[in-house]
Symmetry: C2
Subunit: 250 residues, 2 copies
């Protein structure tokens, strides 16, 4: 990975894309120890509950983030393209969306749906990281807002490993509750493809390309910080006051 203190000039879209992929290889949360434990079957049901509960706050904030992204674009074609993300996550009347599929997972883990939806019991660090992401897309440039979604480039491989690993290792996980991840295997590449083309076309100076890369670094931090907080609370065992406590220890 590039050391960012001495950046190389990003003098082309290809150079930028190579840097983005290097950032993903070095910083994406598939490298996080919590995910290794999750995918290798090393977590208790209570720890998996804590992960799914906290991650619900991220999932349920994604449509807010995407609505803000839409509001940043006077260009109608970009808004129309981005709108399908709202549809994917929220679903439609009588049609299941990504948030419904996440709730199928938390149901399957035995978490009360009202509790999950309330946001009570999540780690403050989860809220801070997710809210930082939502604020980022509203306050930075539209280019940076789109760039921050580019971690989707790296999502399909982690989802494949997650589906296989969790099904293999946990008797409380079955195909039904993994529906969210299966669906994202096809949704994420479409989204990432649009966003990658967008930043390749619209970041036309070395400075703009550096801003795109910094936005992806920021986003990898948003994802990583959530897992750090989960690890500290539920693996190391320092659960903060007011946060979810698994009923069973192992």
């Amino acid at each position: 990975m590039t050391i960012h203190f001495t950046p190389k000039p990003l003098d082309s879209a290809d150079a930028m894309e190579a840097e983005l992929r290097a950032i993903g290889a070095a910083r994406y949360h598939d490298r996080h120890p919590f995910h290794h434990l999750l995918h290798e079957g090393k977590l208790t049901r209570g720890q998996v509950q804590a992960w799914a509960l906290n991650r619900y706050y991220y999932q349920s904030s994604i449509p807010l983030k995407d609505a803000i992204v839409i509001s940043r674009f006077r260009d109608r074609a970009t808004r129309i393209e981005w709108r399908h993300r709202l549809e994917d996550h929220d679903g439609s009347e009588g049609e299941e969306g990504g948030i419904d599929r996440w709730l199928i997972l938390t149901d399957g883990l035995g978490l009360d749906r009202k509790y999950v939806e309330s946001g009570h019991g999540i780690l403050p660090a989860t809220r801070f990281a997710v809210d930082a992401y939502v604020n980022f897309v509203g306050s930075r440039t539209p280019l940076e807002a789109i760039a921050s979604c580019l971690t989707e480039l790296f999502a399909p491989s982690i989802h494949e490993r997650r589906i296989a690993g969790m099904l293999e290792h946990y008797d409380f996980i079955n195909q039904d509750v993994m529906a969210y991840f299966r669906r994202r295997l096809t949704q994420a590449p479409r989204d990432a493809d649009f966003a990658l083309h967008y930043v390749r076309d619209h970041a036309t100076t070395p400075e703009a390309r550096a801003a795109v890369c910094a936005a992806v670094v920021f986003k990898t931090d948003v994802l990583w910080a959530q897992l750090d907080a989960l690890y500290h609370a539920y693996v190391t065992g320092h659960i903060p006051l007011g946060a979810f406590r698994p009923e069973e220890a192992g």
Copy 2:
């Protein structure tokens, strides 16, 4: 109309709705002199061009406003309901929306589409008023954001008069270019119906009901200020520097 310096207590949803309808009767822009001139055939083609050009900025900002409204709600059902406004205004790939229909009007009036879409030539007061509306829904409470859309309660009657009046009085107006208004005759009541039920259900204190009413007063100001600026520039004749100048005077 209620004098707002000595407000009566809004102690029920019915009292609030009555007040909202009184605000509409007194302040909605169907009462504005510019609209009287427009609907009675008293404007030149150049003045109608100026109206359609400026109003395009309002139309094209509505999806940004609606995306921000969506981003204010953690409640998925409200987001899904509100999403159809994005679809109505933006359309979909290969499917015409309200903004397309507004451009059919500006096309029909002989305005260059690139010029209209650029926003060059609109009055600064148009931009200030419209941007104030977009900012309002992002900075006030979600209840006030929804309430500010309630001028749609009063829209169908003005659209009916506009369609009839403009078709009757202007030889440069035909059925085709009035498509936007015909479509809103059915869209606006659905939208207004949802918003009215929403504020009736969610404004549960006199203070909250007063905030709902104030939001509608604000919105009538947004609409009225745009017509004041048009009147001053294009009827009285003080066109500011940089603003659109009709090629012909009469």
